[in-house]
Symmetry: D2
Subunit: 398 residues, 4 copies
Amino acid sequence: MAETKKDCNVALFGAGFMGRAHSNAYLNVAKFFDLPVRPVMHTVCDILGADAFAANWGWQHASTDWRATAAADEVDLVDITTPNHQHAPVAVAALEAGKHVACEKPLAGTLDDARAMKQAADAHPDQRTHVWFSYRGCPALALARKMVRDGKIGRIFHVRAQYLQDWAGPDVPLLWRFKGTESGSGAHGDLNAHIVDACCFVTGEQITEVCGAIMETYIKRRVIPESEAGNIKGATVGDKIEYGDVTVDDAVSFLARLSGGGSASFEATRLAAGRKNANRIEINGEKGSLRWDFEDMNWLWYYNVEDDAERAGWQKIMCTDATAHPYVAAWWPDAHILGYEHGFVNLASTLLKNIGGAADAVEVPAPTFQDAYETQRVLEAAVLSAQNRSWIDLSDVK
Amino acid sequence: MAETKKDCNVALFGAGFMGRAHSNAYLNVAKFFDLPVRPVMHTVCDILGADAFAANWGWQHASTDWRATAAADEVDLVDITTPNHQHAPVAVAALEAGKHVACEKPLAGTLDDARAMKQAADAHPDQRTHVWFSYRGCPALALARKMVRDGKIGRIFHVRAQYLQDWAGPDVPLLWRFKGTESGSGAHGDLNAHIVDACCFVTGEQITEVCGAIMETYIKRRVIPESEAGNIKGATVGDKIEYGDVTVDDAVSFLARLSGGGSASFEATRLAAGRKNANRIEINGEKGSLRWDFEDMNWLWYYNVEDDAERAGWQKIMCTDATAHPYVAAWWPDAHILGYEHGFVNLASTLLKNIGGAADAVEVPAPTFQDAYETQRVLEAAVLSAQNRSWIDLSDVK
Amino acid sequence: MAETKKDCNVALFGAGFMGRAHSNAYLNVAKFFDLPVRPVMHTVCDILGADAFAANWGWQHASTDWRATAAADEVDLVDITTPNHQHAPVAVAALEAGKHVACEKPLAGTLDDARAMKQAADAHPDQRTHVWFSYRGCPALALARKMVRDGKIGRIFHVRAQYLQDWAGPDVPLLWRFKGTESGSGAHGDLNAHIVDACCFVTGEQITEVCGAIMETYIKRRVIPESEAGNIKGATVGDKIEYGDVTVDDAVSFLARLSGGGSASFEATRLAAGRKNANRIEINGEKGSLRWDFEDMNWLWYYNVEDDAERAGWQKIMCTDATAHPYVAAWWPDAHILGYEHGFVNLASTLLKNIGGAADAVEVPAPTFQDAYETQRVLEAAVLSAQNRSWIDLSDVK
Amino acid sequence: MAETKKDCNVALFGAGFMGRAHSNAYLNVAKFFDLPVRPVMHTVCDILGADAFAANWGWQHASTDWRATAAADEVDLVDITTPNHQHAPVAVAALEAGKHVACEKPLAGTLDDARAMKQAADAHPDQRTHVWFSYRGCPALALARKMVRDGKIGRIFHVRAQYLQDWAGPDVPLLWRFKGTESGSGAHGDLNAHIVDACCFVTGEQITEVCGAIMETYIKRRVIPESEAGNIKGATVGDKIEYGDVTVDDAVSFLARLSGGGSASFEATRLAAGRKNANRIEINGEKGSLRWDFEDMNWLWYYNVEDDAERAGWQKIMCTDATAHPYVAAWWPDAHILGYEHGFVNLASTLLKNIGGAADAVEVPAPTFQDAYETQRVLEAAVLSAQNRSWIDLSDVK
């Protein structure tokens, strides 16, 4: 364990894109937030080696041995950013070794893995678990949640959630993200996971039923990147180019019922040309509406049914007011907008406050393994609905 | 029949909101468009009487006798804007009397009525039928169709269509629109009808399967307007206010498959606070995307996958270029934007060109009874999907 | 004079673009508005002949004799849409003949002409004068005026007005609009006239000083349209193409002081690529702000300083509420948006109410010759400021 | 000097808002960019003491002695974020001590100070000078510059630049920013400095003439913050509240000529209710237009005159493509948007490349003292224009 109580030694698993985003969060979070513990960038672990990564970001150690790192005595917090099928083994081992555990989303590639992780968290209630649904760290989305809780929207009739991207056109090769064995799913786990979490986060409601779903792989075969040609099931050899089967979805959309009686729709796709990172949600209630799009992440739109007819209209709120908007006081003067990685820094502040026992200082809650398991159940229900061509009651998905 | 070949005597049925919109179209269309026949505002017929209406708009005659009007010798074109349950009797009678027949959407309140109308149209192939899906008359939506046909979008992956309104909050009384016996359905027939037509119009594809649907009445009872209290099934008597049961949906959303292999979602609601007339459609294809919202009806957004990465982005096209955009040459110089009723005037030009035998001058096709019957089948399939909690193949809906 | 008191016989001068816009207004205005007089489309007069125009629009007579028409006994209202240098002679003659006179903007091509028209109006105070600053007829701009009058904005600090178009690139030939003898000025009279009127209309203030101006002709020579080659001063003859001198401005921008102490900026140009019809105004006051752009003419943006910090933001008001927004009750149900020509129809309703003595029914005032003369003085002051390279006090411009 | 050649020891002056922004830049820049020197956070100097600031951000030393720090042997780079009137003495001393010098904008509070700094830079040509016009570090603005240089816009007709804020309403007390002795100017130096730099940066042109200006203090007296009551010229004593005179402008707007023949307008204000940080620029050229607003900093709008009429329209470019947009490759995968402080980090990368002699790796140039002096001359010309009520030729401002 760290030598002083105030230090929290972090071990990061995975030195890819998410590894960078988390490193940036640990580097910066204590500069902006007042925290009960000090994050120490102790060890980064990656099976391909992480020496250069450690040197660049200031991790004190680099390792290729995940079992040793997850159990190392000096480590307080294990943070997992590896491919989805590796989440469960690392998380369970770390929990059993007495660590706090944070994990990238989705919680796991399969519901079985997710359940195992949730059960491990249940078995170690004194250790914190944390899932990086990073958009909870966007002030605008957190403000939406606050306004719903404050009764600004009233009874919720509709949630309309989409996560649209466009990077997976037919020319994109067969990356690991297109292989079910590594990623578990495609757009569904990658993108729908975010918006299911956002829906429950903002509304405070649960999804009780999936009322229809379409799951589709539009680009069924892709070129195998050179290094892997010939090693993949389904690959064929042409004159110059080899193709392999895509084994995940490109797009999944589904309809759902909310516990408060409203309806919801969810859509994730990687084939919406022009939609770069359109993580969007709109909530329509009896007293008003809210909507948000990550592509314009600093703005929240609000409609108040009770405004005078003369002025009634969607209000475009720049969520940068230190006195009124979540997280903002930690950053710059009003009206200096934030970017993508601030979501991680903000969420890291919550994680470290929770670990430091300052739960009452937590402005915006971060999801636990238990919460993320609920999201995983919804994703599973959507898959079943698409496969069975019928509605699925969530109580039938365990 | 009209005294000169060039006149087309119109009989309008219904002197409400749509009666006004159609009157405006007949008054103005020949001022802007070069037509093979001249529309003559001959008779307006309404069971409540239409003398003042006729005087205001310049209809030569007013009648309360629908049977006589529909069969009158001098009438060339019967145009129906009455409540939905009256569409079929008037339309069938008029077709049998040898008239061309235009009808407001949805084609009918029930699939049985719609089928009867379609069969009557089949039986009189030399008479034109026409359904007022007026948004086809918006230049931007017509341009979207043209761009799809010209291959700008390529293979279609997704259609995302919504028609969101917000006028039906809990304080709105039990108008005829909330009574199934008069309207047939609620948001579904009123709004989804438009966007199903728009989807097929723009993409040139058909809907082959409904893959889940939610149909809901959120506000189940409404105050009975004073004149009707006590006359409505389900009404109860309180001290001062009487309530009646709402017998149509407030909102219907459904998922669907397109004949080209893509997926589509449709949502109609009257409870989306802040969405006033948000008739919206987005099409994502392999080569690009298009999107449109009636609230900004003069703009079409276009994304071209083949643009250089430096400049690639959604392009906001003001659809007011006389040399390049449908319908525009008839109106004002470039960049003088159009409004709601221009859709009717534009569609009226098509109707009158068709009646005058100038089909090759028709820039944008208007839907026939046969087309609208297909739309009605899709609406029926969505209802069945919501009721059965399962997918519905369109071939099972006759 | 018209046979019944209720008729108002209109004589229209000029059968071009504006002639069409006014014809449309007279055709439709009584269908939507309840008016004290009935507009009768009596005579259209154009030196090139207007028989076809009259037939198309339903004018009862066509004439080429402007003097006779302006003085004809049966005419009640003379409406002028001819080129700017013809405004004064027609208007003065008509006023002297006892007619009400409406005139397209700018009031005249020169300040001398404008003064003569204003003096003629002064001399005939019982006849109405009216200038077609048609954007006053847009509900959103009229709402902006109402909100300022109701104190929603408070003390005005800034007005930022622009009218940006892009149709006058180097390839556009030497049309009449580029010739000073016919048009009087370029973008200045055509576009700045509108936004100076809008500024005074919305704020209720006057312009007291011009504090700097730039007037420029960027494209100094243009191709002479074939029919006119060789007839224009400055033309030169090449192998195939002849050029002539542009004798008006392409763009004029100026700064000004408002009578309430605030500052204002105005900019008109025909060379703002991508700005099609961007007639825009923003008002910043102590209590709030308003902004509007004709390219999105149905929307008004409003910012209220007194809103809670949590929700404060620009509010996007769709100006289509019959109970709360000017002119709207005359048209369609809420949320059915209007277009360009509705401005003329709305303003025509004011003109006819004024003529019919129903001034107290006028919701939004239309400008008189006196008002438009004030606007013309501001335009003249801007020209003087650009020429003199110094500030110009409006009291020095008579 | 730093112990290894690769280290660059930084001394930061000023521990306020800008001190934080620069600290963040030095902390993060080497994590994302490949740099020829390593920035070392050596000393922070503030007259009020900076121990806590140093501890939070990781500065190795804290000092209150500016003279000693500016001349300290170990320091390689002096970076100045103090109030404007302190820029010159620190910068000149540091240059004379052989340091590279970076300075916040505006270069100085007065033109005399700016000239002294420019001359000191001239006298030490081997030392780098750098001014933090941080918006050059926004990818979208840097892309605009690139597109202009690549000829996408052609001959420039108009630049329309505004920097609008709203934080200075009548209730805001008499902060240092409202006192001329400390800040030199109000909105003019604070905001117009940015947009004059942006104009020259993007267009590559200079401003040759100021053609009119308005400079105004709308709120002439403000409440004195408690600590300072009685110490300020112009203060009066009431029962409870004391007021002092505001001695800077609230707003300055001016017109200008560009060296390429086009016209430009600039406006800075702190009284534009609802405009939070609206640093905006639009460039209209013969071949196209570009526009940008910092409130939506990740987007650049582009209009291409040569697009087909069918698709021509403003294109909304998300400037997050690593292959095509400046700075982006250093950060996250495509479509992960940046925030305010990234501008500083990006500009810091340029500063450190310049110091390390890797000028050919500089993608986007940062301004030198010489460049910023030119901007200061333009600001001075605007002041003179407002005072003299006439045009000012830049050649008359030295």
